[in-house]
């Protein structure tokens, strides 16, 4: 690309500017690197995600596809320039008001597109809004709140009201919302120091090969800007990492072989331009290619090459659950089937990014992550340092969904920065992100369910194999969750479930919203429909009859003491279900080409780690100046933990949300609140926050000798408790300036599972039932989801807007799983070929919140991060079957697969 700079003059974010710029640099690069407008996000550099959307002469364009030269004489506005004189634009305000923002990575692009729409139409129609936003992907929100915001952007903003004492349950705007709409939020790639060196991994193009690295001296000679080549030999500590202490099997850099396409062999560190100029094939790596093991059949074949020396038969883990002796074959009615699912990619809009810096004998890593404490400990092991010597500073995280629970850039950056004593940065490009990071496990599931003549479930048998790919990652978790959840949210006297995770030379599969449960839900829900049909019962009533309720024992033998609201979710759906069935019947009467169908999906989901301790700690302090600070380590990856913890804390203390300042996820500053996964933060860290708030409140009351429900009023430097004034400056402050410190720790009650999978694996369970209405084009096999009604038992909605947002986003991902998402290594390593839903694919979503409180959750709350996704695909597949008669046993149900099913059914009739 041309490096000769050219003089240009232009209007940029309201100012007239002149500058000498590189004409062929992407405009996104120029806006970020030359002008510091980091609101311009880079999600793909290929026009596919729209995160870089800016306005060029008032028209939305992908800045990654525009040569900088086109700025000359033009006017450019990015999200950084939308606010004027310190006031947010109406569009920005509307985004905050409608809860349109989650992780925020897509938001600057969305705002640019929305601004173009608002300029063209004072009162846009929904279709106009969709057309205007169609080129910007969002992986978090399901788009509904964004569309609502754009439609409502003409309205003047109302002043916010923050209720005292009623923070929990209020639809408060996000704590981090303003920074995410004005573009100032710093994501993984946004805060990289100007003097940083860059790092690029050189990765295997082969799925399996023995490797050797040749003489690196000639490479250094040819490329003086190359500062260091890092290999496994440079690593002082553990050469491999992994989630489980006994399963650290994934090398930072390949040792003697590579086990998947994209595995890092070494890393180049140097000046950015110098690295760009080194083609991979100049790097002296020799690959002796091995025949790769692709897919479950190849991995399980007798005599198959063993991928890991210590893992015979390529089995990573096998887990079983046995309860009762009953067999579905002996039941009055039985139904069975087999299902297959594909690799699914997280496709967060922000690729992995960060930088590391050595500070004396400590390492500091700024990184986009879901799990700063695990990052700290893992990096410490790799670097052979004590944990205290590693400081993780999580940046704003542009989406995770489980994909940022593993190491990506962290170990490589730590090593480079440590050895070179310079800041070192790394940003994955989209194909790298897709090729290298974990996926949802492809699964093969066989199941047989039986019930008695009255429709009561008797016995379930299921076997589920998961292709876990090259390294263990979170594979064992899948095997842990699947037996517990495989029978679905129903009462089963007899259950036999076997789940295995199998190694292959595919990409490593790890955590992805639901850890295997979305896959098995396809099976349990399809079988529930089949059994209902055999018994002659309505599909909803059949589920209602069998729903797990408080007082039941689960398949693991756990007594559900409270908070099992599936029956209430189904009650809430019933009128919609009946109306939709009538609508479908009427519409389909004449045998039209576009048929309607309606289906149900139910789920339950254990919040927190399976059968393991997973505590969270929270600290709340009061300073002599009368300031309350919440030290919140529950990293907000868009789901809203920085907002709801303040809400919980405010009510526990009895003060206003505004009065709570917050220090967020930083391993030096905040106590360990565990990882943001497993739908645990609201429930586990939320409870710890409530306890910390109550602890501080107790101490305050004691100071004033006040009664339990005394009002606490805080003003600068004074604290009034009831009628008593307490002068805080008289109290002794600790090193952080705190005069009082409230602590909270919560570890959900859970016990390990025994050999038969019996025990109490989770402290609480979320429940949900969703209904999907779809239209299928019988001739083309295309499916349009028209409406989804989602009834979720969340215990207590701490912030209903955020809860609904989680459900909307889960539904979008569930829709993708059902209809379009299939990662094919080497074929769909980009967002052009790997399709995730756009704004045009999303149905109207109606969320019904059921609140059956959990006695341990903060004010009764449970998790909702993953539950939104689990029932969606089963509901859509059921609706497809209702429309077409075709039961799809393979997802995604792409148009060609569904059409083949329709043709096969017609031929059979």
């Amino acid at each position: 690309m041309s490096d000769d700079r050219v003089e240009m003059s232009f209007h940029l974010n309201g100012a007239r500017r002149e500058a000498r710029l590189r004409p062929m640099a992407r405009l996104s690069e120029t806006l970020r690197d030359e002008f510091g407008y980091t609101s311009v996000k880079v999600g793909c550099d290929a026009g596919d995600c729209g995160a870089c959307t800016v306005l060029l002469d008032g028209r939305q364009v992908c800045a990654c596809l525009v040569p900088t030269a086109r700025m000359d004489g033009a006017m450019v506005v990015s999200a950084d320039g939308l606010a004027a004189n310190g006031f947010l634009s109406r569009v920005q305000e509307a985004f905050l008001r409608h809860g349109a923002v989650q992780c925020g990575a897509c938001i600057p692009g969305m705002l640019s597109a929305a601004t173009e729409i608002a300029a063209a139409h004072a009162h846009p129609t929904r279709q106009q809004v969709r057309d205007g936003l169609g080129g910007v992907l969002c992986r978090c929100t399901g788009y509904q709140n964004i569309v609502d915001a754009v439609m409502d952007a003409g309205r003047d903003p109302d002043p916010w009201e923050t209720p005292i004492g009623g923070a929990v349950g209020a639809r408060l705007p996000r704590t981090d919302g303003v920074a995410k709409v004005d573009g100032s939020a710093i994501f993984g790639a946004d805060g990289i120091p100007g003097d940083a060196l860059w790092l690029r991994a050189v990765r295997s193009p082969h799925m399996a090969a023995k490797i050797s690295i040749g003489d690196l001296a000639p490479l250094h000679e040819r490329h003086p800007g190359l500062v260091k080549v890092l290999t496994a030999a440079d690593i002082p500590g553990n050469k491999c990492y992994g989630i489980y202490p006994d399963l650290k099997d994934q090398p930072v850099f390949a040792l003697d072989q590579v086990r998947f396409r994209g595995e890092a062999v070494l890393a180049l560190v140097g000046e950015r331009a110098a690295l760009d100029a080194i083609p991979d094939d100049e790097v002296p790596i020799t690959y002796a290619v091995l025949a790769p093991i692709v897919g479950l059949d190849a991995a399980l074949e007798t005599g198959a090459r063993q991928i890991h020396e210590d893992k015979p038969d390529n089995i990573l883990i096998a887990a079983a659950l046995r309860r009762g002796e009953g067999d579905p074959s002996n039941c009055a009615h039985a139904a069975s089937g087999d299902w297959r699912t594909s690799y699914v990619e997280h496709a967060y809009i922000e690729p992995e990014a960060g930088y590391a810096q050595r500070r004396g004998d400590r390492l500091e890593i700024h990184v986009t992550t879901q799990t700063p404490y695990m990052d700290r400990d893992e990096v410490a092991l790799i670097m052979d340092l004590a944990s205290e010597y590693v400081h993780i500073v999580p940046t704003v995280c542009g989406g995770g969904f489980g994909g940022k629970l593993d190491q990506s850039v962290q170990p490589m950056l730590a090593l480079a920065a440590w050895l070179l004593d310079r800041p070192v940065a790394c940003v994955f490009h989209r194909p790298e992100s897709m090729m290298v990071t974990t996926k949802r496990h492809p699964a093969r599931i066989s199941a047989r369910f039986g019930c008695d003549v009255d429709g009561r479930l008797c016995a379930a048998v299921m076997t589920a194999d998961f292709d876990t790919g090259a390294y263990a990652s979170w594979g064992p978790t899948v095997a842990g969750r699947v037996p517990v959840h495989g029978g679905g949210p129903y009462y089963w006297p007899n259950v036999a479930i076997d789940a295995r995770a199998i190694f292959s030379n595919g990409p490593s599969c790890g955590a992805f919203r639901g850890f295997g449960v979305p896959q098995v839900a396809l099976a349990h829900e399809a079988l529930m429909d089949d059994l209902a049909a055999r018994v002659g019962m309505d599909a909803l009533e059949f589920r209602h009859l069998n729903a797990l309720r408080a007082g039941n024992r689960t398949a693991t033998g756990q007594l559900l003491a409270a908070s099992a609201g599936l029956d209430q979710c189904l009650d809430a759906l019933r009128p919609h279900w009946q109306a939709a069935q009538n609508q479908v019947r009427r519409h389909n009467a004449g045998g039209p080409i576009r048929r309607l169908g309606v289906g149900l999906g139910c789920m339950w989901y254990g919040c927190g780690n399976t059968g393991l301790s997973n505590p969270s700690q929270i600290r709340v302090t009061l300073s002599a100046a009368g300031r309350v600070t919440l030290y919140n380590g529950a990293v907000d990856i868009g789901q809203g933990s920085y907002t709801i913890m303040r809400q919980i804390c405010a009510d526990a203390l009895g003060i206003g949300v505004d009065q709570i300042e917050q220090v967020t996820g930083d391993t030096d500053l905040t106590p360990d609140a565990g990882k943001t996964s497993a739908s645990r933060q609201t429930y586990v860290t939320g409870r710890a926050t409530e306890l910390a708030g109550l602890d501080l409140r107790r101490q305050i009351l004691r100071l004033a000798n006040a009664e339990e429900n005394a009002a606490i009023t805080l003003t600068a430097g004074t604290l009034v408790v009831g009628e008593t004034e307490v002068t805080l400056s008289r109290l002794e402050a600790d090193g952080n300036g705190a005069v009082l410190v409230g602590n909270g720790v919560f570890d959900p009650p859970a016990t390990a599972l025994d050999a038969n999978g019996q025990g109490e694996p989770y402290g609480t369970y979320a429940f949900a039932a969703q209904m999907a209405l779809v239209e299928v084009d019988m001739e083309l096999g295309t499916t349009k989801v028209i409406k989804i009604i989602a009834a979720h038992d969340v215990g207590k909605a701490i912030n209903p807007t955020l809860v609904e947002g989680q459900i909307h986003g889960g539904i979008a991902q569930g829709l993708g799983l059902a209809l379009m998402e299939e990662y094919l290594p080497g074929k769909t390593d980009n967002l052009h070929d790997y399709l995730i839903p756009t704004v045009g694919d999303m149905p109207e979503i109606e969320v019904i919140l059921v609140e059956d409180p959990d006695p341990n959750g903060p004010q009764g709350a449970k998790g909702v991060g993953e539950p939104g996704l689990v029932p969606t695909a089963p509901a859509i597949l059921a609706a497809i079957k209702s429309a077409t008669g075709v039961g799809m046993h393979r997802v995604p149900a792409t148009p060609d697969r569904l059409r083949a099913g329709i043709l096969a059914r017609e031929a059979a009739q």
Binding site: S2, P23, A69, L137
Partner: protein, 279 residues
Amino acid sequence: MASYLRPTELSHALSALADGNLTVIAGATDYYPAQVGRHDPHDILDISAIEALSKITHDDDHWRIGAMATWRDVIEADLPACFDGLKAAAVQVGGAQIQNTATVAGNLCNASPAADAVPPLLSLDARVVLEAKSGVRERPLGEFIQGNRRTALETGQLLTAIKVPRALEGGRSGFIKLGARSYLVISIVMVAGLVVLDESGLVRQINLSIGACSEVAQRLPALEADLLGKPLDQQLSAGIVAPRHFAQLRPLDDHRGTAAYRLDACETLTKRLLAELAA
């Protein structure tokens, strides 16, 4: 070091092209995605500042879509009904940002088998104007695109305009795209058509094209012949369309759809398009 040129005059562009091996960029929406994760600098000729290329105009005989006319320009231009198919294609290309920057001419030059401009323009009997320092040539679109990513563009030539005969202005046209999602999607199959009826309502001319089912989008001469002289009536034309009309297509089996599915969809979409044109 790679060079960059952005002339404002066509003649400068043509001279530069004659002198060196330059990579032309128009909207650059096909150019940049191909550079991800690569470092291979090109000498660039950016034609975006050439005013003369940006217009959609007509003379007595032809409509002319300039090489810098974007999909948005097509959507916003006041064009006769025979361009409805091209407009329908335009609003379905990528998302709004791509429509705002990508050019119709670039879509032809890029010569993807799934290029959405090709079927509607084949149906419009479009010709491309190829200019070089040494002179101007015209070619029918069907000859210009020669294969997957292969065109008849010679060194030194620039595609300066797409020409459509005004004789077709009285025709009705349509376009149907089948993709696996809405927005930002590459066609699994697309069909385009243009029909001109005589006074008694019989088909005088019908041009049908299918894309994404062969290396280069194709017209359907056998089907066109079978429809000629018939009334354009929904039932009748649907009854005529048969698998043999698509026998020349060689669709791919890929992650967007199986070959069998594509062929099956061709027939369905063609029937639907005819119904749309008859309505």
